[in-house]
């Protein structure tokens, strides 16, 4: 099986992989939106835990550490798997949702006002 890569894989292809895995195990019964968002949240917290006591600068070093990197990639995969399965179960389109959200973000954070600032749009 040729390896997948971001440049050659559509979001739908990933969604279908996840869906097949779930259906083969008859797990859709457990995959309510409530349960999937709990799982997603728990996996996001596990990813975050890798960087708990590091400073932001140190966290860049942690993420580049080969010994940590494999584990970090696994946690990232878990997060995206649950996000895609949430899209499968709810019928939402991830790419369209991102496009719409980024258009809204562009209005909230105009380049000239937001450049180099981390303040929330309500405080710009």
């Amino acid at each position: 099986m040729p390896a997948l890569s971001d440049s050659a894989t559509t979001v739908s292809e990933l969604r279908e992989r996840v869906l097949s895995f779930v259906r083969e195990r008859d797990w859709e019964q457990f995959h309510s939106p409530k349960n999937l968002t709990m799982a997603l949240s728990a996996e996001a917290a596990e990813l975050m835990e890798h960087f708990l006591w590091a400073t932001p600068e140190e966290s860049r070093v942690v993420a580049a550490d080969p010994a940590r990197r494999a584990k970090i990639a696994e946690e990232l995969a878990d997060v995206v798997i649950y996000a895609l399965e949430f899209a499968n179960i709810t019928g939402l389109d991830v790419a369209a949702s991102i496009e719409a959200k980024m258009a809204a973000n562009a209005r909230k954070y105009p380049i000239e006002k937001a450049r180099g600032r981390s303040a929330k749009y309500t405080e710009l």
Copy 2:
């Protein structure tokens, strides 16, 4: 601009959109792995909040409610945007990470043992 859709959009295309948005605003300085996983975790919690007091079955109804659906799509978009930006900053390949994680999951959860069961692999 033609609308994006999961079936016609690669993961890389989404990653590049996010990266352009961030670079135009000179926000990479804030996007350490530590900060991005905090943001990801916070957005995952916001998505989860939509289903807080609903039963799992009721959460399917909540997710189908047109009035809620637009907000839920926004929170899902935020989660995936931060996951993709985390991939941008760390250089991880999302599709390859998912493929590797699903292969590991397939070993931990063989179909015949895992079918119809929500138990953790250590308890199968």
Copy 3:
């Protein structure tokens, strides 16, 4: 050492225990509000993970299971320890904050309107 119990222990006594533990290890340098809320969030997610695939009703059974109960008590302790240490570091009074928040909640959720309903106050 006599065992502590909720009925005979003030919040301050617990706060001081946590503070001593931290100071003996010279850990205050790591205990910025940012880091402590990340740790708190990660521990809350670990507590939540015990109930991930259970229905709300099943989760009551899980919490009563003696084998699980010890682990659940540990996660709960971790959550409260980090909350108390956050209070230590920021100088907030937990009991006063709770009293003020419950007074605000009582105004948002008057008994006659909120009884038996899980809706957010904005939707009552």
Copy 4:
């Protein structure tokens, strides 16, 4: 009503306040362990969001800012309220759980090995 304070309030007194509030509104039906840990996790994330883009050092300044402080105190209260209500519903004793967990932590993190280090006990 005299104001509560940490030095004069036992954990049980706080637990009873929370329980009365919940019972008056007939909310125990919604307070399964599953739902309460979701709520706790969501509130912990809201507390964390105050410090999202700040460095650890800057987060100390944020927490001292009078304008932010009232909001931060509210989020902290929410976290502890849900932790106490989880204790109410499961019958766990918070102080005893903390005492037991700190004893275990003291064994995992002996002072001489852990002093001034943020590493996990498995890496000390």
